[in-house]
């Protein structure tokens, strides 16, 4: 079985898995875990989009 996601899909999958582990291991109570996981996910995806735009503008 071969799986070939797009770059952005790969970012989303990576961010979802890593944020889950970060949220559970770095905070103590479930609400704080959820909040921290969502925060990490947003930072992963947001920074990927931002860097993509920076690279796009540099390349032009």
């Amino acid at each position: 079985m071969t799986f070939s996601p797009s770059h952005f899909s790969a970012v989303l999958l990576f961010a979802a898995c890593v944020s889950t582990v970060f949220g559970i291991t770095m905070r103590e109570t479930p609400p704080r875990m959820l909040r921290y996981g969502a925060y990490c996910f947003a930072l992963f995806v947001g920074s990927a989009i931002l860097l993509s735009w920076v690279m796009y503008l540099i390349a032009r």
């Binding site: 070939s4 582990v21 559970i24 103590e28």
Partner: protein, 135 residues
């Protein structure tokens, strides 16, 4: 008193079992350390996240590091070994040993390494729960 201190020094506490068991179990099987501590929800989420990441890496035709010829290979091998039995079983059945010229294969290799590193974090978290450092 002396006997209790001796037991603590060797990782044993009276009536509570081996202190490092969740750490070792968590390293070998993702989430197992939390399951031993009856943290079922956390353990299940950790297991799903780590096994999915490892599986996605293999599905993207990522490579498992097998040699430590240079420093980067060595770091990759250390990361892969963090997955415990997932890495050992995958190598035993011959997964992730082919060189594929695909962009996603390179992503897959990174997914596998990161899954191993996340598993180490999860195992250390289980150890912290066991020792009472974390609630």
């Amino acid at each position: 008193m002396v006997a209790t201190e001796d037991k603590k020094a060797t990782g044993q506490t009276t009536g509570e079992g081996f202190v490092y068991l969740p750490l070792i179990a968590g390293w070998l099987v993702p989430g197992a350390g939390h399951f031993l501590l009856r943290k079922w929800g956390r353990g299940a989420l950790l297991a799903i996240a780590i096994v999915c990441m490892f599986g996605l890496g293999l599905a993207m035709q990522g490579r498992l590091y097998t040699k430590a010829d240079d420093i980067l290979d060595m770091l990759g091998l250390v990361g892969d070994l963090g997955s415990g039995l997932l890495y050992i079983v995958s190598r035993a059945i011959g997964l992730g040993n082919e060189t594929v010229q695909l962009t996603t294969a390179d992503y897959g290799t990174r997914f596998i390494v990161v899954a191993g590193l996340l598993n180490v974090i999860a195992a250390v978290d289980a150890h912290n729960l066991r020792t009472g450092r974390k609630a």
